[in-house]
Amino acid sequence: MQNKYYAGCDIGSTTGKAVILNSDGVKGMAVCASEIDPEKTAIKVLEMACKKIDDINDPKDISYIVGTGYGRREVPFANENISEITCHAMGAFTCQPDTRTIIDIGGQDVKAISVGDNGEVIDFSMNDKCAAGTGRFFEMMAHIFRMDLTQFSELSLEAKKIIPVTSQCSVFAETEVITLLAKRKKAAEIAAGIQASVAKRCFTLLKKTGITPLITITGGCSKNRGLIKALEKKLRVSIYSLELDPQLMGAYGAAIIAKKNKETTI
């Protein structure tokens, strides 16, 4: 094998992500649902990514692996593990060097990250205590509407007006939404209210770290088009859409760091 490969493996609460790259760029990537055991998730997703590259058969063939995400300490074969905050910043910055603010909405937490001129983290704030506004919250909401996540994320785009969902807590929000549906309010308008309430929470987090353009969104919820629209409305700026799948940004950043760290040790 002439070309060295580097990998980032992001073990989140809902999904595992892996990105493998070499000096020519990204060569393989994969996403899988998280297992109960983070180590199993890591093995599974790394193997899935390896299968997409002819040169390598096994994660052991990768020169340097960086683990990230909540399960980062459980990534087998990892040479080191780095916080997902740093990895998301590096990933988004590498994709778009003008990135100065990132909103990362994962399965179980939300982070606002302020990025410096060299892709370093200047400040961050996070909500990891409350489910409201996280991927899990959207799953719950989609379930009430008897939709999958993709359908739900599109639903609010049809809304002509917004029905406010005022509850801060996921559990109470669920009750509120069920009540609104029972009152035969329009589903799209309720969905718009849900997206707006999450956007408001993100805005509060972003205010802590500062809202400096260019703003990007990463994490699984970056695929929620309704949320992006609500966020843009709340922030009054457009959110830049990253070329690489934003859900993979943590793993991508980890792979970039893996490459840098390996090269500096040589």
Binding site: V121, I122, D123, F124, K208, G210
Partner: protein
């Protein structure tokens, strides 16, 4: 050499340990078995305070040489002075006055009265045992005190509601430092049914009128105490106390000059816990002056021998807000894990430390000024510039690398300020860590949760891994 120094370190620990236990054991001997039994029954927190030597374990952990000696000396000062305060719950109880931490204890002592700072238990108990005040917080909340009120006054209220307060005869409070604290004294007054005097600390204190006004408030307090207690003002005694306090201040300022250098010869509890106790609980006590003199000697000796408090000092921080009461282990942990020294804290920092003792009026003016411009009034009541100016001044003066905020969720005043602080620090490029936690209740954010916040900050912002 290594063996000898670790042997000396062990000696320092055990010498202080034995000395402290002797002091603790003498208390029941002084009061006799029946009184001791009654006290323990009436004041269950005495059981916790009997474990005060745990503080010694916390402050000496991982520290060696003069830094260990300095940290141990602070606990060696606290224990006998605490025992003597506890004696007051049995002797001359008609002279026992319950006072808030914003009321100058110098005046109470000069009047021949004994002090019981009502916040003392709320401060000391969680330091000794992390979970020890949860019971009192629950009692206060079950009695209808809102859960978002600061847990320090909630602890005080819980102790009062559970009838575990010593037999005090008068209450002195003020309108500072916060609404929660102020409101708690109405409950205390209603529950104890004894007279209360409330000092009115002026809001805008940068003028002579404010000093004059607050000096008059102190005069009214003295008259009120003379009317409601057996205490009589002894101005000569007040002068002695203030002069002793000034001597202690001189040593403290000298200590601050020494710790400005990098690496610091001593840090953390030797700097902030010494101040917290000697200036707020027992000002005017010659043993406090002796402690600060000793701390200066130890620091100077370390400087001379080029010995740092922590051998691998990489970062220096100021701690803003009261220290993590239920987790003061955090500082020795941060020293060992990240080479991070807490050099100074906001509670120790007072810009007008000396009291002019030439006349009765000048002493009262000095004390008035001290309270008004002291940390809890100056920083929490506004204007916001007080908070930021002091912090950034200290950041430069002590050559620091970061600002560490003990972000007590019960403190609404500082929560509002911290939002502005974030923006200011960002503009100045100063790393800022605001640790969300509750001052007295580890159930809100656990020790692991605090460490997790610390780790995240160190890894992502400071690019530092645990040593």
């Amino acid at each position: 050499m290594g063996l000898l120094s670790s042997f000396t370190d062990e000696i320092v620990y055990y010498k202080t340990y034995v000395k402290n236990y002797k002091n603790i054991i003498q208390m029941p001997i002084r009061h006799g078995p029946i009184q001791t039994y009654n006290n323990l029954k009436k004041y269950p927190w005495l059981w916790q305070l009997a474990k005060v030597n745990r503080l010694l374990d916390i402050v000496t952990r991982g520290r060696s040489g003069n830094y260990r000696k300095a940290s141990a000396a602070v606990v060696e000062k606290i224990v006998p002075s605490l025992m003597s305060l506890l004696d007051n719950i049995n002797i001359n109880t008609d002279r026992l006055v319950l006072h808030e931490d914003m009321v100058p204890p110098e005046i109470i002592s000069a009047m021949g009265l004994t002090t019981w700072m009502s916040e003392l238990l709320g401060i000391l108990l969680p330091m000794v045992d992390s979970h020890s005040v949860e019971k009192y917080i629950d009692i206060a909340e079950n009695a209808g005190i809102p859960s978002d009120v600061c847990s320090l006054p909630k602890t005080t209220m819980g102790i009062i509601l559970n009838s575990e307060v010593p037999p005090v005869n008068a209450i002195l409070s003020s309108n500072s430092p916060c609404d929660g604290g102020m409101a708690s004294y109405q409950l205390i007054k209603n529950k104890l049914k004894i007279p209360m005097f409330q000092l009115d600390v002026p809001y805008n204190f940068y003028n002579d009128n404010a000093v004059e006004y607050f000096t008059n408030e102190l005069k009214k307090m003295i008259s009120w105490l003379e009317e409601h207690t057996p205490g009589k003002m002894d101005w000569d005694r007040l002068r002695e106390i203030c002069e002793e306090r000034n001597r202690m201040t001189e040593y403290e300022l000298e200590l601050w000059e020494i710790i400005r250098r990098r690496p610091a010869p001593i840090a953390a509890e030797a700097v902030f816990l010494s101040h917290l106790w000697c200036f707020n609980i027992t000002p005017g006590d010659p043993s406090g002056t002796a402690l600060f003199k000793y701390l200066v000697e130890l620091a100077n000796e370390n400087v001379k021998k080029e010995i740092a408090a922590i051998p691998n000092e990489k970062y220096r921080a100021v701690l803003w807000n009261p220290p993590f009461l239920h987790f003061i282990d955090l500082f020795s942990w941060a020293e060992q894990q990240y080479g991070l020294s807490v050099i100074i804290d906001s509670m120790s920092y007072n810009r007008q430390p000396f009291i002019d003792t030439k006349s009765e009026d000048s002493m009262l003016k000095g004390l008035a000024h001290n309270i008004m411009t002291g940390p809890m009034a100056r920083h929490t009541r506004g204007p916001a510039e007080n908070y930021f100016n002091d912090m950034f001044y200290m950041y430069t003066y002590f050559d620091l690398d970061m600002i560490l905020i003990a972000g007590h969720i019960g403190c609404k005043n500082t929560a509002a300020l911290n939002g502005i602080l974030r923006e200011k620090c960002r503009k100045k490029g100063i790393p800022l860590l605001i640790i969300d936690y509750d001052l007295s209740d580890p159930r809100v954010v656990t020790h692991d949760g605090i460490i997790q916040q610390f780790d995240r900050f160190m890894e992502n912002i400071m690019k530092e891994r645990r040593l």
